[in-house]
């Protein structure tokens, strides 16, 4: 499932909803891994009040689908979902949910990480922060791997 959504979502309702729609996961998936990225109220030493997320309709969906398909080819996944916010986001709001299901944990951990890192480097999304004074575009992402 790939979705770009302009309304707030609760990842801890989305995951059971996906599982309910794919009942085979319940007995076949021994492992599931989920990543939730949430908006912080601080960035680069400044308080951030709101975030506006822009995307490229057509290209963003296409690349999310390609990232998911590549993960499904590289690991024996039973299911995978990517849900990403666009529009105005507030501190504490989830921005992205990546969740995967597989028989064993290695594939679930690795594929979830791969999807998230590939999304951050390839999927066309841009963030504009509204600060207490003025606004600014986020120019680059923080690295995802610690070494």
């Amino acid at each position: 499932m790939i979705e770009i959504r302009s309304q707030a979502f609760d990842p801890w309702q989305e995951i059971p909803a996906y599982q309910a729609a794919h009942p085979e996961l319940k007995t076949r998936a021994g492992a599931s891994a989920a990543f939730v990225g949430t908006m912080r109220d601080f960035n680069q030493d400044e308080r951030v009040d709101t975030l506006f997320l822009e995307h490229y309709p057509g290209m963003t969906d296409k690349h999310l689908t390609a990232i998911r398909d590549e993960a499904m080819q590289r690991w024996p996944l039973l299911g995978a979902m990517i849900l990403h916010r666009i529009g105005e986001v507030h501190p504490g709001d989830p921005i992205v949910l990546v969740a995967v299901w597989s028989a064993h944990r290695a594939a679930a951990f690795e594929a979830c990480r791969f999807i998230m890192e590939d999304l951050k480097s390839k999927a066309p999304f841009w963030k504009k922060e509204t600060l207490q004074q003025g606004e600014r575009w986020v120019e680059s992402n923080t690295p995802g791997y610690s070494n």
Binding site: T38, M39, E54, M59, A123, W126, K128, N141
Partner: protein, 77 residues
């Protein structure tokens, strides 16, 4: 004709509406930038032709959609 789109900070700089440019023989994606933006391309600008990433020397064909945008910053944390 070639359809040109800008996103994020480039959209604010060069306009939100799609721009249609006449295709010239031998036109590359960099040539489309020059014709649409009228100034040198800043560093780190990403380019797409028909929804796929390309380099500036990629050839352009009639009916193509060419997009220019800054580095992507999706996800969180």
């Amino acid at each position: 004709m070639v359809r040109v789109k800008f996103f994020a900070s480039l959209r604010e700089q060069f306009g939100a509406g799609d721009l249609d440019l006449p295709l010239r023989p031998g036109m590359s994606v960099s040539d489309v930038w020059a014709a649409a933006a009228g100034q040198p391309m800043p560093e780190h600008v990403l380019m797409a032709r028909n929804l796929e990433y390309v380099q500036g020397d990629c050839a352009v064909e009639d009916g193509d959609e060419i997009a220019f945008f800054p580095p992507v910053t999706g996800g969180a944390a």
